[in-house]
């Protein structure tokens, strides 16, 4: 089943008790950022927030925390809201395997209702606000940015749909952060080498599947729209932008069309990031906006990010695990069991695997570092045995505390690439990386005393069932 658009998903959240309407008037600052931070502090089953009255605006509505909990993530996939996390992982992985699902093209879209090309003022059109106290300005932080491969513009899969932080820096100007490891940086480089501007189209207020897929580290030539079709189980609806051949999500609330100006860089940030630190004070590209389209009375969407966990950690949790899992399985199809790369977008990853022989787990760790996502993340990779659930952190801690010998099992590889936002990288973008092998030594490695693992008493499973029934009465 697919959600028609952003509003359709909000309606589902409301029906499921996963949306909280806030009808009291709030101040743009500090209320919006504070409330969105606060809701993440209240656990992992929290609702989305819909602010219906914002000081200074006649009828602006802002939704936040839309995918900010495991129930909301389950509903994004059309699953019951109480679906356990590990089940959501395997269901996501199953659907990911259905890629590609061809798209459904439409001629018109609801966002074409209102169009602005003269005297564009983004500060008037969008209800913008400061999210964290030391942000250098007002950001659009949950929009999908579409661009295409300049040298192969007709290749549908090389068209990129990604989420990048966008600082509103003028009435018709945005700053954009294209991290070198992300696909839009490839397009920008191609355009700038030709001395050409890079055309972009930006969609705000989307149903949650394209948002999730846009935040998923797909391979360069994999289409986000064809993956969104796989995740939602039916063709994804797209429509052409007006000024370019770029494809946009049909259900978007607001669309901005423009171009990244070749060769220009301008002071940007700082912006509080998913690493729990501010990043900025660098010069980054700018986008000139030429056209704005939106629905009448659009609903705007922003996401809070900061010290984990916040909405962004739910939004790029399982969708970071699954590509790593699939790519590791391509190399080791019979061994890889599961991957948990939910920590800081996979800066830390935990892999559960069978070990064929001594040294195998370290090879699995090395392979994780060389996956496309690993090139910018996977600063620490923990490898555990097949019977350790990587989503169960007490089990992972048990493996680390009992299976690891620092002399043999801690491998440090110097000066590898990482995304420059990693506050520990020095220079920004370079770091040592570490593999911690917390698997049981396998022959010909015979060290340690692991021949007598403790097994559960004989009738444990039976008793688990009996006790579960009694507790549920």
């Amino acid at each position: 089943m697919a959600y028609r658009d952003f509003r359709d998903f909000l309606k589902t959240l409301e029906n499921e008790g996963q949306l909280l309407n806030i009808n009291e008037e709030v101040m743009p600052e500090p209320d919006l950022g504070s409330a969105a931070r606060a809701i993440s502090n209240l656990g992992d089953k929290t609702p989305a927030l819909l602010f219906n009255r914002i000081n200074g605006y006649h009828n602006a509505r802002i939704a936040m925390n839309v995918i900010g909990s495991w129930p909301n993530h389950a509903l994004m996939m059309g699953l019951p809201k109480n679906t356990p996390l590990k089940e959501q992982f395997f269901e996501f992985a199953k659907r990911y395997g259905q890629f590609p699902v061809p798209v459904q093209r439409e001629e018109t879209a609801p966002f074409q209702e209102v169009e602005i090309t003269d005297d564009i003022n983004l500060f008037d059109i969008l209800p913008l606000f400061r999210l964290n106290q030391s942000d250098g300005g007002f950001y659009i932080d949950k929009a999908v940015v579409v661009s295409c491969d300049v040298e192969d513009p007709d290749h549908f899969g090389k068209q990129n749909v990604g989420i990048y932080r966008l600082q509103v820096k003028g009435k018709d100007r945005l700053g954009i952060q294209p991290v070198p490891q992300h696909d839009i940086a490839i397009h920008l480089r191609q355009a700038e080498e030709r001395g050409e501007n890079l055309k972009v189209a930006i969609a705000l207020g989307n149903e949650p599947v394209i948002t999730t897929v846009a935040a998923t580290p797909l391979l360069y030539d994999q289409s986000e729209y064809e993956m969104a079709g796989a995740i939602q189980g039916e063709p994804y609806k797209i429509v052409k932008a007006k000024d370019t051949d770029l494809d946009l999500p049909w259900g978007a609330e607001v669309v901005l069309e423009g171009e990244i100006i070749a060769g220009e860089r301008e002071f940007e940030g700082p912006f509080g990031e998913f690493t729990g630190h501010y990043s900025g004070g660098r010069s980054m590209p700018i986008i000139k906006i030429n056209r704005v389209c939106h629905r009448k009375n659009p609903i705007f969407e922003y996401l809070y990010l900061g010290m984990p966990w916040t909405e962004i950690d739910y939004m790029m949790g399982l969708n970071t695990c699954v590509p790593l899992y699939q790519q590791l399985k391509e190399a080791f199809p019979n061994e890889i069991v599961a991957v948990n790369a939910m920590y800081t977008h996979g800066l830390l990853a935990i892999i559960s695997t069978k070990s064929r022989y001594g040294g195998f787990a370290k090879a699995v760790g090395m392979r994780a570092l060389t996956t496309p996502h690993g090139l910018g993340y996977c600063k620490m990779v923990i490898v555990v045995d097949e019977d350790v659930d990587p989503f169960n952190l007490p089990q992972v801690m048990w493996a680390l505390s009992t299976k690891m010998h620092a002399k043999h099992d801690a491998v440090i590889i110097p000066d590898l690439s990482v995304l420059p936002l990693d506050p520990g990288s020095e220079p920004a973008g370079i770091t040592h990386k570490m593999i911690l092998d917390a698997t049981t030594p396998t022959a010909p490695e015979t060290r340690g005393h692991y021949s007598q693992p403790l097994d559960s008493p004989l009738e444990t499973e039976k008793w688990e069932k009996i006790l579960k029934v009694m507790l549920n009465k």
């Binding site: 101040m27 743009p28 600052e29 500090p30 000081n55 200074g56 605006y57 006649h58 003022n121 500060f123 008037d124 913008l128 606000f129 400061r130 106290q133 030391s134 250098g136 300005g137 007002f138 600082q167 509103v168 820096k169 003028g170 009435k171 700053g175 952060q177 294209p178 991290v179 070198p180 940086a185 920008l188 480089r189 700038e192 080498e193 030709r194 001395g195 060769g263 860089r265 301008e266 002071f267 940007e268 700082p270 501010y278 004070g281 660098r282 010069s283 980054m284 590209p285 420059p420 920004a428």
Partner: protein
């Protein structure tokens, strides 16, 4: 004319006024690109109370690292 709370430039401009008249205005500094709303707390709007760790010296701006670097144009 407002002073930029972050870099203390005097060149700031008003970029927006609240749709409901009189609630607030939004200002932009064209030097350090800082943006703020008149209704924000003093720790944001007052140059003297702005968090020192996040102040910007306009002289540092031209030296900021370019991310990503601008590539050479191909012949």
């Amino acid at each position: 004319m407002k002073t930029c709370p972050r870099c203390e430039s005097k060149k700031t401009e008003t970029v927006s006024q609240s749709p409901v008249k009189g609630a607030w205005e939004v200002y932009l500094c064209p030097v350090c690109m800082f943006t703020w709303r008149s209704s924000e707390p003093e720790s944001i709007t007052n140059p003297e109370k702005y968090n020192k760790a996040f102040k910007v010296d306009p002289q540092d701006i031209p030296h900021a690292a370019k991310v990503p670097p601008v590539p050479e144009k191909r012949a």
